[in-house]
Symmetry: C2
Subunit: 332 residues, 2 copies
């Protein structure tokens, strides 16, 4: 049973293809009787307009693509949920694909924008070099979210990572931290900004960071444990650690606890993101809340503007407010 086409529907309904198409697209210039005949034929043939033919003719797909390195991330999933909901309101379907940090895979997915498989692209954690992202964002309908290639040139939505890291580090110091350490990543630009914020807060307090630990690989629970173990072998032992994510902070807390030290009694630990992991951790984590869902929504709005207003795109990034959430992993 081959696929029915608009021709088949027209024949069955006894009208022309033009009329069928008009019914399909809700044109007002169709009589009730034609509308009924066409509707009956469509039902009878179980007809669906072929997407590729429609897309070819209309020169758009009403689909967007969202890319990130991986999917199992509280922030990423929430950002994409926000983007997806916003997109749905405007009639767009949001498709998601993980790049696995593989440049080739990422390039292939970006090509889906270049070859018109989708109308727009939301980039979370690019693998390609910053310059490439910028160049791409310059000429295509691309918006970055959270991880933003460069200050002014790029299009994107994020929090002020530097300020957020500054705020939470200051909290660590205010609550007694004197020997400060950081566990972070330099793979992501946001990671580098958080490092800056941390350093700035430490310096402003007249201190200097005791230990800075970074990974260039995964940034997950295991990484948190490994880096924390390394940290516990160093002297002086820190009394406060800022971690670049809740999940890493959870690994860090776990390692400290397993070593027989107390959090926050011996070492205070701060996370980042205010994800569910912050609540699952014992003790619950002091962290920075990122408005992930709203960031996703805004990212789509920005993308929509880029897609529909050819030249009217708003260059530069949009910052959303973050929030310090104080829980039990830092001192009262």
């Amino acid at each position: 049973m081959a696929r029915a086409t608009v021709q088949d529907v027209a024949r069955t309904a006894g009208v022309s293809v033009g009329t069928v198409s008009r019914v399909l697209n809700g044109s007002p210039a169709v009589s009730e009787s034609s509308k009924a005949k066409v509707a009956a034929a469509i039902r009878h043939l179980n007809y669906r307009p072929l997407a590729s033919a429609r897309d070819l003719r209309r020169d758009r797909t009403m689909r967007i693509l969202a890319l990130a390195k991986n999917l199992y991330s509280p922030v990423i999933s929430e950002v994409f949920r926000g983007a997806g909901d916003a997109a749905a309101l405007s009639g767009y379907v949001t498709l998601i694909a993980p790049t696995a940090g593989d440049m080739e895979r990422e390039q292939q997915l970006v090509d889906m924008l270049r070859n018109g498989s989708v109308d727009g692209l939301i980039m979370f954690s690019p693998t390609m070099p910053d310059d490439d992202v910028e160049e791409m964002a310059e000429q295509l309908s691309v918006v970055q979210v959270c991880e933003i290639a460069d200050a002014e040139a790029a299009f994107g939505v994020s929090i002020d990572d530097r300020q957020a890291a500054f705020d939470i580090t200051r909290h660590l110091i205010r609550t007694g931290g004197r020997r400060l350490a950081m566990i972070g990543t330099r793979v992501a630009r946001s990671g580098r900004l958080r490092e800056e914020g941390f350093r700035r807060a430490v310096a402003e307090a007249g201190l200097s960071p005791d230990h800075m630990l970074f990974t260039d690989g995964d940034f997950d629970f295991h990484a948190g444990r490994h880096l924390a173990r390394e940290l516990l072998g160093m002297r002086p032992l820190p009394d406060a650690v800022f971690c670049g994510s809740d999940t890493v902070a959870a690994g860090c807390v776990r390692e400290i606890s397993d070593a027989g030290l107390r959090v926050p009694g011996d070492i205070a630990v701060a996370g980042f993101d205010d994800s569910i992991q912050a609540e699952m951790c014992v003790p619950e984590l002091t962290t920075i809340r990122q408005p992930a869902y709203a960031m996703g929504q805004l990212a789509f709005e920005a993308l929509l503007a880029r897609m529909t207003e050819p030249e009217g795109y708003r260059r530069g990034r949009t910052f959303l407010p973050h929030e310090l959430v104080v829980r039990d992993s830092t001192n009262g």
Copy 2:
């Protein structure tokens, strides 16, 4: 600067569109000189074949779609990673979309298969009724993974949920459990199968379940806490709880610990999935390992068979072996 077409390339290269297309598709019947001229023109015009035109002509997209209720799940993300890697080996792109448990959204995404936006569909956690899934799987290139609508009729890949739940419940009993409880979900078919396995193991030991708690909503850390709190108010207090997922088990463990009871001393807790959450939990969870990545790979293989061998599809599901992983949340 409008998009270049195959016509433009032909004109620039001084050849016909046929030749351009042949170069594009690596046909051997092209002279070296034409090949070079076309390649130069393509580079010069920065030409990319338009996906919709190609798809229309070729009647396939080399894209598949993977659906699940949500993305922030250790099992789902791992299954889709396996499917995505397997698909890439065969030249397919895997796109992922969350349905958010919304029937309308799910229907719209399934329509992408019906209208030829993608060539195949992998379904993780359907929202539509089982019968609808079956009917769909009957006539379209659809494969289910983990959650499988019905025993023999459907196409899919999963573990034997009933047996797995049986195995881990038996372990709870062997290690001293006498007053058994279960925290599960009946939304997913796998949840119902796990309930069966639990009941069977309890019955086989000559016991009967003391408490069965189910949620019809989310099945996450918070749900685990809430249901565990309810459980702690019941009498007799259980001495062993089987949870339908690691994340829920983590919530359960947390609630028990917060109530001043010890895991596993007072109450043993078992999870399901062997996700990272099992390791993050304190104590680490005894659980069932699902070979999620392999399940994803196999799901794609099955889908590929359905897509390419029109009538040669293997009806019925494929079972992969699970494994009991004993850790510290159950007694020695």
